[in-house]
């Protein structure tokens, strides 16, 4: 049984078609249109500010994708994902700054790409380390271990030790020209945008395909009922740890991308707030859906930009408001999460699904 609506007259004749990714010409066209939009139309039409917004959306979405894998597909609630992003970011920055690269690798501009992959792997391993208790506990107790990951990694190890490397205090800054992929130096907003788009597309593709495979089905079985999953022969510890690894890997990629976006790095970029923010993003987007990750990121980033804009407009009348912007942001974020959970518990992706179905059946919706 295929999981999409097939238009009249279109039949699957082979199992491979039934499992296909883009099953109808309409979907195929839509996806190609989306890729064209992201990779060709946006780079030529967006301007400076909007690139910044798009990069923020991409960074949020990459982080939230890992959270979605953990919470939405394996039922492992995490409240410490920023720690793994931080591990990725610091690994990549340290490798670029202090690793004794052979000359030819730097000349070919391979240092940064290699560091991206290594930071992904390291963040994944770090994530597995804190996922180990998931073998024994679940629910609230697991939440506590992931919170411990946040405090141990960011507030202790990174703030106290790792950011002291190089002896320049808290913040790392990456000199211009060190972040280089092949012949291109990643400096402008356009180039970071393209890097973001490539990384995000790759990770979404990998995750979406993983979810259609044996691994993804095992994760979903564990999420729905882990005892039942165990009885049908799924090695739940192995798959849970694998889930932690993949989520951590994507977090590592997000972290490594972040240094190209800011060219500076400090522990304050990865507060506990950011971990909760990512969970908020997927709650608003919809749990258990990759669409949800993207919708949630777009929604949250745009809403925050709108609030900032509104505060700036009001700041002529109430100058205090600008200083207190951060507090308003926090309050609004909290309220948005509460309102979504109460009135739209299935998130934006469910709305999207409803709209899509409406048009699939339109005009004969009976």
């Amino acid at each position: 049984m295929s999981n999409v609506w097939l238009p009249c007259g279109l039949y699957h004749q082979k199992y491979s078609e039934d499992h296909g990714w883009w099953q109808t010409p309409v979907i195929k066209g839509k996806m190609i249109l989306l890729l064209v939009l992201v990779f060709i139309v946006f780079p030529f039409t967006l301007t400076g500010y909007w690139f910044g917004v798009a990069n923020m959306i991409g960074y949020t979405a990459m982080g939230a994708l890992g959270v979605q894998l953990l919470i939405g597909y394996a039922g492992l609630v995490t409240l410490g994902h920023a720690a793994f992003i931080a591990v990725g970011a610091y690994t990549s920055a340290l490798m670029i700054l202090h690793f004794p690269w052979p000359r030819f690798l730097i000349d070919w501009g391979l240092a940064y790409p290699i560091s991206i992959i290594i930071s992904g792997i390291l963040a994944g391993i770090w994530s597995v380390l804190f996922g180990l208790p998931s073998a024994k506990v679940k629910g609230f107790y697991l939440i506590l271990t992931t919170m411990a990951a946040q405090f141990i990694t960011v507030d202790f190890l990174i703030t106290q030790y790792i950011s002291q490397i190089g002896g320049r205090g808290q913040a790392f800054s990456l000199p211009p020209g060190t972040i280089k992929i092949g012949p291109w130096i990643i400096d402008g907003e356009l180039k970071t945008y393209l890097l973001m788009a490539v990384l995000l597309t790759l990770s979404v593709t990998v995750v979406a395909n993983l979810l259609r495979s044996k691994v993804g089905r095992a994760w979903i079985a564990i999420r729905d009922n882990d005892i039942a999953a165990e009885t049908i022969g799924i090695n739940i510890i192995w798959y849970k740890l694998l889930n932690f690894f993949v989520a951590g890997f994507i977090a590592g990629l997000a972290g490594a991308f972040w240094i190209s976006n800011t060219a500076a790095l400090s522990p304050e970029h990865f507060p506990w707030f950011w971990s909760l923010w990512l969970v908020g993003v997927i709650l608003i987007g919809g749990i258990g859906s990759i669409h949800g990750v993207i919708f949630g990121s777009i929604f949250m980033v745009i809403v925050m930009e709108l609030i900032q804009y509104g505060v700036m407009l009001l700041s002529d009348v109430y100058p205090d408001l600008m200083i207190k912007f951060l507090y308003i942001k926090e309050s609004v974020f909290g309220l948005v999460i509460c309102v979504f959970l109460i009135f739209e518990p299935r998130g934006l992706s469910y709305r999207w699904w409803q709209i899509k179905n409406y048009f699939n059946l339109w005009p004969f919706s009976y």
């Binding site: 919470i71 609630v77 409240l79 804190f130 180990l132 208790p133 073998a135 024994k136 506990v137 629910g139 609230f140 107790y141 939440i143 506590l144 271990t145 919170m147 411990a148 990951a149 405090f151 141990i152 507030d155 202790f156 703030t159 106290q160 030790y161 009922n225 005892i227 039942a228 009885t231 506990w272 707030f273 909760l276 969970v279 908020g280 709650l283 749990i287 207190k324 951060l326 507090y327 308003i328 942001k329 926090e330 309050s331 609004v332 974020f333 909290g334 309220l335 948005v336 999460i337 509460c338 959970l341 109460i342 518990p345």
Partner: protein
């Protein structure tokens, strides 16, 4: 040896404060089955409200009583506005609503009271420590310790002997089953949140006396998590024992490990301990072990 005894006693006293905050976590978990991540902010609200009344000239005891009343009102309000609609929803939704509430409250607190440290002026507890031999005990810690013990006895009796206490535990264990035998879940949740606000209010008022109140007092709500885990999420004696154990561990690690790992080893050691501890004893010492059936 003197150093060891000193750290031990200090640890026990600090542990009393942790136990007080941990009690708030355990109470709301025991009553409604929700891990309330807004606990730190509730503590802050309690501290600031008490401070505000104290500053306009109300005696300390009276301001605490006013805080308790405001706490009950706020608790019932929060429950009616936000959590009432979530009865029967998955537990993650409720948890995340508490996260949302914590941000909401935090923003409001910062908006109203600012981020500067404010202290109780004039101080309520004399700064002179009580001396027994070479051991010095600060009065605030002693009072928190005593209060934690008193509240522990009070709530233990409440859960063991009263009708309401049993109804609350039943709801926490299985909401649907409790509803079917006629327990009003709405009432239980309202009461749970009122109790949480009240205990957090008293805790906050005492904590505010130690180093003054600022937004970081709210983080203490998170730092006691290892204590809660150690004792088990739904055990009131566990909260007390866990709080004291974590207090001792923290002070001993501060005394002996700080020279090897300079920096914040004192704050992080309990968390590291917690992760390892959970590998061996996942439900704490006295937490209910969930037995699942298919």
């Amino acid at each position: 040896m003197e150093l060891f005894v000193m750290s031990l006693i200090n640890g026990i006293m600090v542990g009393g404060v942790y136990a007080l905050v941990a009690l708030g976590w355990v109470l709301i978990y025991k009553c409604s089955g929700v891990l309330n991540l807004a606990m730190g902010e509730l503590t802050l609200i309690g501290a600031y409200v008490t401070l505000t009344f104290y500053q306009i000239g109300v005696p300390f005891i009276m301001s605490i009583i006013i805080t308790l009343i405001i706490g009950v009102i706020l608790g019932i309000l929060v429950e009616r506005i936000f959590l009432d609609r979530l009865i029967g929803e998955p537990i993650l939704a409720v948890l995340m609503v508490t996260v949302g509430l914590s941000f909401f409250f935090k923003g409001i607190i910062e908006f109203i009271w600012g981020v500067q440290t404010q202290a109780f002026q004039p101080p309520i507890f004399s700064l002179e420590p009580i001396e027994i031999g070479f051991i010095k005990i600060s009065r605030v810690y002693l009072w928190s310790f005593i209060l934690a013990i008193v509240l522990f006895l009070l709530f233990s009796a409440f859960f063991k002997y009263t009708h309401w206490g049993l109804a609350m535990q039943a709801t926490a264990d299985d909401e649907t089953a409790a509803l079917s035998v006629g327990v009003s879940a709405r009432f239980v949740y309202a009461a749970a949140w009122a109790i949480a606000f009240m205990s957090a209010g008293v805790g906050g008022a005492l904590l505010g006396n130690i180093n003054g109140i600022n937004i970081s007092v709210g983080y203490l709500g998170l730092l006691v998590l290892p204590a809660v885990v150690l004792g088990g999420l739904n055990s009131i004696p566990g909260a007390i024992v866990g709080g004291i154990t974590i207090g001792i561990l923290q002070n001993l690690s501060g005394t002996y490990l700080d020279q090897y790992f300079p920096g914040g080893v004192k704050e992080v050691f309990p968390f590291a301990f917690m992760v390892v501890f959970m590998l061996f004893k996942p439900y704490g010492f006295w937490g209910w072990e969930r037995i699942e059936r298919m």
